[in-house]
């Protein structure tokens, strides 16, 4: 048995260290460490409730809008305020633009460069992939970054800037859209759609979204090998990524993108092919393995306080649990629970693996751009974009949303007109959870077991793929 420490683990958002026990070329046990703590929950205590809109988004420079949305919903919940329909559409658009930008950033900048590693130089796809997805200087990133910049104009128009905006408020958004701006938004979305069709998929979005089975996807991949998604599918087939990094597969989504009556992407829990209702009173956080004091409990009733010398701890991350069990979040969970046939088919066939997690993200990218177009058309330009309410002095409130990498919740308790407690449970807190008090490891810790390590590898490629397939955001994980 040998112990391998992998760090600094880069091309994830923030700091990550992974410890592996290796025996006979396989990972037999894994510990995931989030080595940075900034204390946002402590900083928020005592603040005016509205200041959460300034502070919480600055937890994360890549999920900033998602943090805004969760904070604004917690404040709206506190005031029992219903946002203006226009503001709801604008917030959906801003969140969708961030989500889509994050999905593509993950694919092009964080995930694909690992296939350019010399360990793959004998694979038939290597030369093409190495020039296309080389980190920093690859041909693909030169196409992708300008497209990303253009997509972020959606946020420039509706929310001033990215990252870190104050435009999303409890009652909607601060910016009323005029006729010219609606057309500018439509133009950005149509250009992004063309980028997806020409570069990412090499096919119309309608055709991509019509793929409902793994057999149809495989057949499509053969015909679209020259697109970036096609390139990934060829690699996935060759390296059997549908057998890599399998988690227990209990999937959760808080649901996202509210419409007039319901969420566009439904909330729920998926386990063994069965979909059930999500009960958020069943959420708890357990600091057993974290350098944090206190015991397990619901976020309304627990604090986050450092205890750097705690014995047996190995991370700053708490272990979130749903009704006592591990849950995985992200695009595969979200799309399966939202009823997307291909996401469900993949989950049923191979479970949650590197393959499914990456495919679901790109399918969601295609779905988002189609939906964004409709939301822009839905603005009633003469109507208000923001409603206003009165904040009670004492209340418990919850704001939830889905960031690109999964479920995000803000649990807020107000006392005497100020924030008494503000607990944030972020997507990667779920996915990169450490062991809980019973010793149950989190989804990534379980996914790493069985990964093969080649002789002499100090930065094992399989481990890189598995870790990054979750699109981790470590700065959200511990905040």
């Amino acid at each position: 048995m040998t112990r391998l420490v992998v760090g600094p683990f880069n091309r994830v958002e923030g700091d990550l260290e992974v410890k592996l026990d290796i025996s006979e070329g396989q990972v037999v046990d894994a510990w995931v460490t989030a080595p940075m703590y900034r204390g946002f929950e402590q900083i928020l205590e005592g603040k005016t409730p509205g200041d959460a809109l300034v502070i919480a988004p600055r937890i994360c420079g890549i999920c900033s809008i998602s943090q805004s949305v969760a904070a604004s919903r917690a404040l709206a919940d506190a005031m029992s305020l219903t946002p203006a329909p226009n503001g709801r559409l604008a917030a959906n658009l801003v969140a969708a633009a961030e989500n889509l930008s994050d999905h593509l950033s993950h694919f092009y900048l964080f995930f694909m460069p690992d296939f350019t590693r010399p360990v793959y130089e004998k694979r038939p796809w290597y030369d093409d992939v190495a020039q296309r997805f080389a980190a920093v200087k690859g041909a693909a990133s030169q196409q992708f970054l300008p497209a990303r910049n253009r997509l972020l104009h959606v946020i420039g128009i509706l929310a001033g800037k990215w990252p870190h905006s104050l435009a999303i408020q409890p009652g909607g958004t601060t910016k009323a859209v005029d006729q010219g701006e609606r057309v500018r938004l439509l133009a950005v979305v149509s250009e992004t759609k063309r980028f997806l069709e020409r570069v990412v998929f090499g096919d119309s979005l309608e055709a991509v979204l019509a793929l409902e089975t793994t057999a149809a996807l495989k057949e499509w991949a053969g015909r679209h090998a020259a697109s970036d998604f096609g390139r990934f599918l060829a690699i996935a087939d060759d390296l059997k990524l549908d057998g890599l990094g399998k988690t227990p597969g209990r999937m959760m989504s808080y649901g996202a993108y509210p419409g007039d009556e319901s969420l566009w992407l439904a909330r729920g829990v998926w386990e063994n092919g069965v979909q059930s209702q999500l009960d958020l009173t069943g959420v708890s956080e357990d600091p057993a393995s974290a350098w944090l004091s206190g015991g397990p409990g619901h976020p309304f009733e627990t604090d986050t306080l450092p205890d750097a010398d705690k014995s047996g701890a190995y991370t700053w991350c708490k272990a979130p649990r749903l009704s006592g069990g591990v849950a995985e979040v992200g695009a595969l969970a979200r799309q399966s629970l939202a009823g997307h046939p291909l996401a469900q088919a993949i989950l049923k066939q191979s479970g949650s693996t590197v393959f499914g997690r990456v495919v679901a993200r790109l399918i969601e990218a295609a779905r988002l751009i189609v939906e964004m177009d409709g939301w822009i058309g839905g603005f009633r330009l003469k109507d208000e974009f923001c409603t206003h309410g009165k904040m009670p002095d004492e209340v418990q409130a919850l704001g939830t949303t889905e960031a690109a990498r999964g479920s995000l919740g803000h649990w807020m308790v107000l006392k005497g007109g100020a924030i008494h407690r503000y607990q944030i449970v972020a997507p990667t807190t779920w996915n990169f959870s450490p062991r809980d008090a019973r010793g149950m490891p989190g989804p990534l810790e379980q996914a790493l077991i069985g990964a093969s390590i080649q002789e002499g590898e100090t930065t094992p490629a399989a481990v890189q793929h598995i870790v990054r397939s979750f699109d981790p955001c470590m700065v959200c994980t511990v905040h």
Partner: protein, 334 residues
Amino acid sequence: MSKAPLNVLWLQAGSCGGCTMSLLSEGAEGLAVDFETFGLNLLWHPALSLESGGEALEVLNRVASGKTQLDILCVEGSVLRGPNGSGRFQMMSGTGRSMASWVKELAGLSQYTVAVGTCSSYGGIPAGGGNPTDACGLMYNGDRPGGLLGDGYRSKAGLPVINVSGCAPHPGWIFEVLVSLARDEFGLEDLDIFARPRLFADHLAHHGCARNEFYEYKASASVLSERGCLMEKLGCKATQASGDCNLRVWNGGGTCTNAGYTCIACTSPGFEKAKNFQETPTVGGLPVGLPVDMPKAWFVALAALSKSATPERVKKNARSSHITVPPAKGRVKS
């Protein structure tokens, strides 16, 4: 370009990663092309480079041992000195050493040290509230000199840390400073009193604000989403905050105030200490923070005069989310 490219090493201390996310919006053909064009060679970046784990450590160790020359050290994020000065709130993974000690060591080797964002400049949001992690900037604790490296720090080229503040900074601010360094065209005279590049800090965020007519007449919004000036009631600090934010726009045309929300002075040291960001503190009905260089009596007199002279159009539009009265009156014939 005949000069050898400058080696740039980027570290993320107690950061949200947003400064990097902002910088990625630079360049019509992507950042890599612009870096190459202007003689900047990225040695390693935690969010972008291929090298991970042991490979990344090799790059860092080559720099630390002097085998690779370090021309520009970019640090993003607050330095977390706690608990009890140990720096254990952020350990550089895989090294068993605190990020604070890495930054301190490498800053001793760099020709230039650039603090990217308000966190590494002055401490930023992590230094807010009770500052639970003892967060600081490279040469500042808020607006007080000090920080990780101390007031006396000078990089090998003889400059203090260059504070490209902003939360997050404009991609152009970061890029233009790095390119000016590569072109050997950046010196002490290009920094303001808080060591911010004057290329953005010579302006006030107020300059170019589309709400200026409302400001002139003190026609104020009473709630966010109204079109009026945000200074009197809603906490806007643009008349006091450094930055060319409204002159060079963000993400294809946006700015904070044009999008309807207040300037929170995110380029200023100590901005995180504000309470109730979206409300203007007043004493005797007067805003506590007055526009830079404006005497109080002058402000009172001007405000009274301009309020008495406010046109009906400006008054009405200030309290509406949409323009209700256009400048040209009447309607086109049907």
